[in-house]
Symmetry: C2
Subunit: 193 residues, 2 copies
């Protein structure tokens, strides 16, 4: 059952990447998954449920990958490695990003997606804040600690930078090296100021 669901979700992702979110219909998905429409509808009674599940599963996959990273001890390198998980540096991550974008674009039509999108954004934001804290070794000034906004803001900056770079790499994959250099520079700036 769970296997069928994941198989169908994978078909959704493939369709999004190859033909766009507009081509995701019960029929196209059923066909690329190699099952009948009736079977698909037995698992996902409605199109919205199909897309909703696919979206959440994709986000969980990314979360798991990030959670599974093993710290090497070099905090700056670890931070770069973590942020790299959100950049489209290979086919897998590129597909994830495209699916994510398609989901955002589909939100007006499927309001149920809004919650999923918000969860994902919050989780990524929190991860970036933790990254900022770790890299800086908790050297927060008294005033900042009082306001409780020092690492929050640093995390937000990291977060925005990562998402922006991801977007640009999608348009121009050749800028990979530049993007990584920018991430490294930002981490270094964070650590040294």
């Amino acid at each position: 059952m769970q296997a069928r669901k994941e198989q169908l979700a994978a078909a959704v992702w493939n369709t999004i990447v190859e033909k766009g979110i507009g081509a995701v219909s019960v029929r196209t998905v059923a066909e690329t998954a190699g099952v009948a429409v009736g079977s698909l509808r037995h698992v996902f009674p409605t199109r919205a449920e199909l897309i909703e599940f696919s979206a959440r599963l994709m986000i969980d996959k990314v979360s798991d990958r990030v959670a599974g990273l093993e710290p090497t001890g070099d905090e700056r390198a670890d931070a770069v490695e973590t942020l790299s998980q959100f950049l489209p540096l290979d086919a897998q991550r590129r597909a994830e990003l495209e699916v994510n974008l398609a989901l955002i674009a589909e939100t007006p039509a499927l309001p149920e997606l809004r919650g999923i999108r918000d969860d994902a954004t919050r989780a990524l934001r929190a991860a970036c804040v933790r990254l900022a804290e770790r890299v800086r070794g908790n050297t927060v000034s008294f005033e900042e600690a009082l306001a409780g906004r020092g690492d929050q803001r640093r995390g937000a900056t990291l977060h925005a930078l990562a998402d922006g770079l991801a977007l640009h790499l999608l348009v121009d994959p050749a800028a990979e090296e530049e993007a990584l250099a920018i991430v490294r520079a930002q981490i270094d700036t964070l650590a040294e100021t």
Copy 2:
């Protein structure tokens, strides 16, 4: 003629914002524009042309607004003002961003959009590089000048930051102040290092 085209394009934008790109069909657009399908098809013989024109017109509008900004002499404030034009700080700019996102999501289905998207990205990038140059007053080190990458990279950072913040403001419009603070901080960092 040109007026009709712009009227139709506006209808496309409205539909995207309210019901998502998936709801953009010749019929829905014709209806929200208050014209008959046949009339629409007289102006835009095909759905692709309709969307393509709407996309380009929207990008041109943003370009014109940015180009129309008058320098105040305070280069840092001007830079912040320019970057703010790409953040969803009001309904107008929010709509622009949503349309942009929808266009990216639709690219797999309409390859013609790729060129438009690339043009827009390049233009924004170039603007960010110019911003970086101006704020720094051309104080580039010898090595950087040799490599020709100093302000390029700074511009790319600014660009990524702006797009990332825009994305996040779309999800959480309440973070407006934080986003502006981040932009200001980045400009200051650029000017002082």
